[in-house]
Amino acid sequence: MITHLISFELTLAILIGFSVLWVCWGWYLGRKAKSQDDFALAGRNVGFALATATAMATWVTSNTTLVAPQLTYQFGVWGMLGYSMAALGLLLFAPLAQRIKTILPHGVTSGDFIYMRFGRFAWSVFLIISLCYALGWLVSLGMAGGILLSTLSPISYHTGMTVIITVCVLYTLLGGLRAVIATDFVQTLIIICGVCYIAYSALGQISLEQVHANVEQQQPQLLNLLFPAALMFFFNNVIFGIGEIFHSNVWWSRALAFKKGVGKKSFILAAMLWFPIPIVTGFIALSSNSLGIFPASPDMIGPLVAGELLGGAGAVLIFIIIFSALASSMDSLLAATSDLLSNDIYKKLLMKNASTQQILTVNKLMIVLLGLFTWLMSLPQITTLGALLNFTGAFVASTIWPILYGLYGNKLSNKGAGLAMMLGTIVGLIFYFQVGFYTAALASCFVSFVICQYFIRLRAIHFQWLQLKE
């Protein structure tokens, strides 16, 4: 068992160093943001390099660095491949990003589109789904921070989680989306270089033949291509990833913030850059048996194995990579969810005549409240990261079809979209609790598809696209 690979003093120094760097940079970049467009959408003028980096860095998160090894440890080869297939979410969002920018040149959130295209019922269901997902993801990120620090250093889960949430709230608050995107760029460079180094070092230290022989003998199901739960997990994860990206304001806000013509290319490149990362982070989990590592919780396996393979210096590298990955996702999510709350709930429901300044103030308040909520919900470690994330799969997978048919077709009605999302989510949750977390998204997506087909074929409407013109 490997514990406390990084000393308390060194952990503190890294934490303070990176925290000060991100917060100061956030303040520097955000000091000129005066309007909501500046703060929430970075002036709608993000170029190709930054766009690609932010798309990739946001998708490299605790999911990729902690959950990919967890799922490989639990589901073996299928788990590793299934996780990397989440890149398909980014790839399929590429054409959607172009479409979103074309039909909503002045839109702010994904909720804007659902409200205008479908109406209030579908919009209400969508908002509930979107908020449940955002909060689930935020809590998983908070938990991941705590798990990371408590695995590699003497710092407790609660302290680690508190520090990481506080830092992310501070720099998102100071800089808005502009700071989020700029820090994402640097964080992407750190993540890519770090992961390449780990892969290189690990391959030099592990005998692949020995790993294979050990897994075959002691964890045979991990290499079995007919491993039942893993078979179910594979497409479930593909669909979960697509649902996450298609519906979430994290991605819509990026599509709207990128310069015209940039979105499609940057999402395709980000998907290609992202694809191998879960394979590298997942692969190392397969060597745990050979190294005699059996984690207390499956979501700790990644840092434990990497720390064992690479020693103290490697543990520092892992810490920096995961800290960067966590920060790059948490800031994006805080920014996008606060936009959704201030624009869709405050402006549409509570203060229809709110000024830009009032919305901006509410936006910042929401970032703080979301941070507080995340902290409170992360205090008890209710489940593993993988199980928590897949809980949100039941919600998001139900939105795939309404968004696709909403963006490209004119036949799906408000009632059809709302019911598809609502019933899809309910069935997904039933599967989550009755069968397993690895079936929730699949069940949700299937039910949503059937309902959408029913309404498109038997209760079609003819939506006038001119209604979307703002």
Binding site: P220, M232, L442
Partner: protein, 123 residues
């Protein structure tokens, strides 16, 4: 026939997290040995861990013995059964997933090409 007649838990995914019963060992449990009815699978060091996760297990009845090395007088056993989901059910969901994925990607590609040529919004 298994020698572990009563299984406390049934696991359908081949992985399980076991709480280490330190209070039931002499001082602390330092090791865990995992075995099935027919063979010993592995012995692992648990030291101060509160729980331990094992994965990749095939169908069968398992027993995890927790003990302190050099003092094997007092052992604590946890039994569990691994019974994977039925293959037919798993393959049905796998194929359903494949169909849903194809149903999503093919129309998306076609619709995208179509809207690139003729933008709905201009109608």
């Amino acid at each position: 026939m298994s020698q572990f007649a009563v299984a406390e838990q049934v696991v359908k995914e081949g992985f399980i997290t076991l709480n280490v019963p330190h209070e039931q060992c002499v001082d602390l449990c330092t090791h865990m040995s995992l075995s099935t009815a027919n063979k010993q699978i592995k012995t692992i060091e648990v030291k101060e861990l509160k729980s331990v996760t094992i994965s990749g297990l095939e169908n069968g009845n398992y027993q995890a013995n927790f003990f302190q090395k050099n003092s094997e007088i007092k052992k604590t056993a946890i039994t569990f059964t691994v019974k994977h989901h039925a293959m037919r059910f798993a393959l049905t969901l796998f194929i359903l997933g494949g169909i849903l994925f194809s149903t999503l990607t093919i129309p998306l590609y076609k619709l995208h090409k179509k809207t690139n040529k003729h933008d709905y919004t201009s109608n």
